[in-house]
């Protein structure tokens, strides 16, 4: 079993607002080992992006964080901002949905990669030019020499994402946090970006947490998956297990509602109702209102995430693995 790279214990995040508080994450715990590819799926408001932001400590000041985030033995929540800055970029990398927000429009691609190499990867000044070229080649950008001289707006969305990945990969981070990295990209470009992630995991042994609402992406890329709903993890396990034999009613409903090319039904399965209001305190299981098999117990008591390490579910109506 791989040593634990990241261990999250009892993480809760509450956003303080002018009128009320938003309970974005409620008591989330899980861990990741080295070289693991973990997907976090869920719909809007489930807290997956908040989770990533909590790990990289980029939440706004109005956020109240409880719990521990232990990375290689250090509690990230207790670190000073300076120390955290050292972590980010060197040991923890970030890939965002819109790479344009992470790239500076005023500097060429070459400039930006070289800067990262110099300051974060500690490369020698003479070699940055060559290393920048290597970085672009490693992410399969065609004609890398001319690309180095171009500005971000001259590149397509897919190329920008590759540049962002290159900038992260050249620092050889231990953990890569990717928030919807392929959502804004065309389907054909998406496949090659997913391949890049695979390559990074393979060659550098990095662990990757991929947050997305697209189950297909997680299915293709990840080893393990966490399904989130209304700020909690409701199911986790190995990808084939969770998608082929989902145990939580929400996961089951999610898998059923996606049209697959192999069968053409006249109607899709649609989960009735909507995600609950996260500013209200939710008593009992958050999914109970929309669940087909909910009982009175489900409405009163919140189920814990239980089960063996490799397969956990938070549902009263599941066979318990005690």
């Amino acid at each position: 079993m791989n040593a634990e790279l990241l261990k999250i214990e009892g993480l809760s995040v509450t956003f303080r607002g002018a009128r009320n508080d938003l309970y974005a994450l409620r008591d989330v715990s899980f861990s990741i080992g080295g070289g693991e590819m973990v997907g976090i799926v869920g719909e809007s408001g489930c807290g997956k992006s908040t989770l990533l932001a909590a790990v990289s400590r980029t939440l706004p000041a109005s956020a109240k964080i409880d719990g521990r985030i232990v990375f290689e033995g250090t509690d990230l929540t207790a670190l000073s901002e300076t120390a955290m800055r050292q972590m980010r970029g060197r040991k923890i990398g970030t890939i965002v949905q819109n790479p344009m927000t992470a790239l500076d429009p005023l500097f060429t691609i070459g400039n930006q990669i070289e800067e990262v190499l110099k300051h974060r990867a500690g490369a020698a000044r003479e070699s940055v030019g060559r290393l920048a070229l290597d970085a672009l080649q490693s992410v399969q950008i065609a004609a890398p020499k001319s690309r180095l001289k171009q500005y971000p707006h001259q590149l397509s969305g897919g190329m920008r994402q590759r540049v962002l990945i290159a900038m992260n990969a050249c620092c050889r981070p231990k953990l890569l946090l990717a928030d919807e990295p392929t959502t804004a990209l065309d389907v054909t470009v998406q496949e090659s970006i997913l391949q890049l992630f695979q390559a990074i995991r393979h060659e550098q042994g990095a662990s990757i947490i991929l947050v997305t609402h697209d189950l297909g992406v997680v299915r293709k890329l990840c080893d393990r998956v966490l399904v989130m709903y209304a700020g909690r993890i409701v199911e986790q396990g190995q990808v084939p297990d969770v998608f082929d034999a989902p145990m939580h009613p929400y996961t089951r409903a999610l898998v059923r509602s996606i049209p697959s090319g192999n069968d053409h039904p006249d109607e899709l399965y649609a989960i009735p109702g909507q995600v609950p209001d996260l500013t209200r305190n939710i008593v009992g299981c958050a999914f109970a209102q929309r669940c087909e098999i909910a009982t009175s117990r489900c409405h009163q008591h919140t189920p814990d995430l239980t089960g063996p390490d490799l397969r956990r579910v938070a549902c009263w109506e599941q066979p318990r693995h005690d």
Partner: protein
């Protein structure tokens, strides 16, 4: 076993608000004076009283409860004059803003929606007006039209309209590109109907914010002109005029200039505070700042 979730139950908190309550109250007082000054004034602001000349405010040694804020060199009651002055300042601000706003909105919508050469022509006109220095323009217009309240309203409107036009034009450009405008066309709505039902209502928010902030600006503009003698003329009363009147007595009677000056400052601060609050709530994208 799990128990009922009490972890996230917390006592209801009093709603936190960021409204500038004191500022709003002060503005309300000024507005009340503006509307009903003649009814509320304790004395006739133009009636001289040579027995009670240069009395200090009531908290000073020589002051009296009768004249709360003292009297000036002709024995006229300062408080009454300030109240009437409020009427003048706010009236000027309101009328000038409405004129500038209406004209500016109309041109801004035409330019923004029509685009092309019309838009370019409009923008050059706006640039020209914004480039002219206010005092110079005021002097020229007063030389042409003469001094007086009506004329300075015209002067102020002429200097302000361009800001509304520019703001509205940029807002129209942004609203025009939103899908619901295209969908209104697809519905078969005429261009006029689109402008009135879809474009205009979405532009008004930032216009309102600009108008409130403009009140503060106009108060200063009007006071400056009146101070220079170009604006309000006696027997009309204006804070700026009071400043000019009291200038010669500053060393012996500080209240003649300090009090109207304080009211100018407080009025500006209060309207600005209310305007900033309005901006936070009605113009979260900051269009007002970038457009003016």
């Amino acid at each position: 076993m799990a128990v009922v979730d009490t972890a996230f139950l917390r006592p209801r908190r009093r709603r936190r608000t960021d409204a500038p309550v004191v500022a709003a109250l002060f503005c309300a007082v000024l507005v009340a004076w503006a509307i009903a000054a003649p009814l509320l004034m304790p004395f006739d602001p133009n009636a001289p009283n040579f027995e009670s000349v240069l009395r200090p405010p009531f908290w000073e040694e020589d002051g009296s409860r009768a004249h709360l804020l003292g009297t000036d060199q002709l024995g006229r009651d300062i408080l009454s004059r300030i109240m009437l002055g409020a009427q003048v300042s706010l009236l000027t601000a309101f009328v000038a803003t409405v004129c500038a706003g209406t004209f500016g909105i109309a041109l801004g919508i035409v330019g923004g929606y029509a685009g092309g050469l019309i838009d370019m022509a409009l923008m050059r006109l706006v640039d020209t007006f914004l480039a002219l220095p206010f005092i110079l323009m005021a002097l020229a217009l007063v030389a042409a039209l003469g001094a007086g309240l009506g004329n300075i309203i015209v002067v102020i409107a002429l200097t302000n309209w361009a800001r509304y036009a520019r703001l509205v034009r940029s807002e129209v450009l942004s609203v025009k590109s939103r899908p619901f405008v295209d969908l209104a066309k697809v519905s078969g709505l005429s261009e006029t109907a689109i402008v009135l039902r879809h474009i205009l209502p979405n532009v008004l928010n930032s216009v309102l914010v600009l108008a409130v902030l403009d009140i503060a600006r106009t108060i200063i503009l009007e006071s400056s002109l009146s101070f220079l003698g170009l604006g309000v003329q006696p027997p009309d009363v204006s804070w700026g005029l009071m400043l000019a009147d009291g200038r010669n007595y500053m060393l012996v009677a500080w209240w003649l200039t300090a009090l109207p000056g304080a009211f100018i400052a407080l009025a500006v601060l209060s309207f600005n505070a209310v305007g900033e609050w309005a901006k936070r709530h009605f113009d979260p994208r900051g269009s007002v700042e970038t457009a003016i």
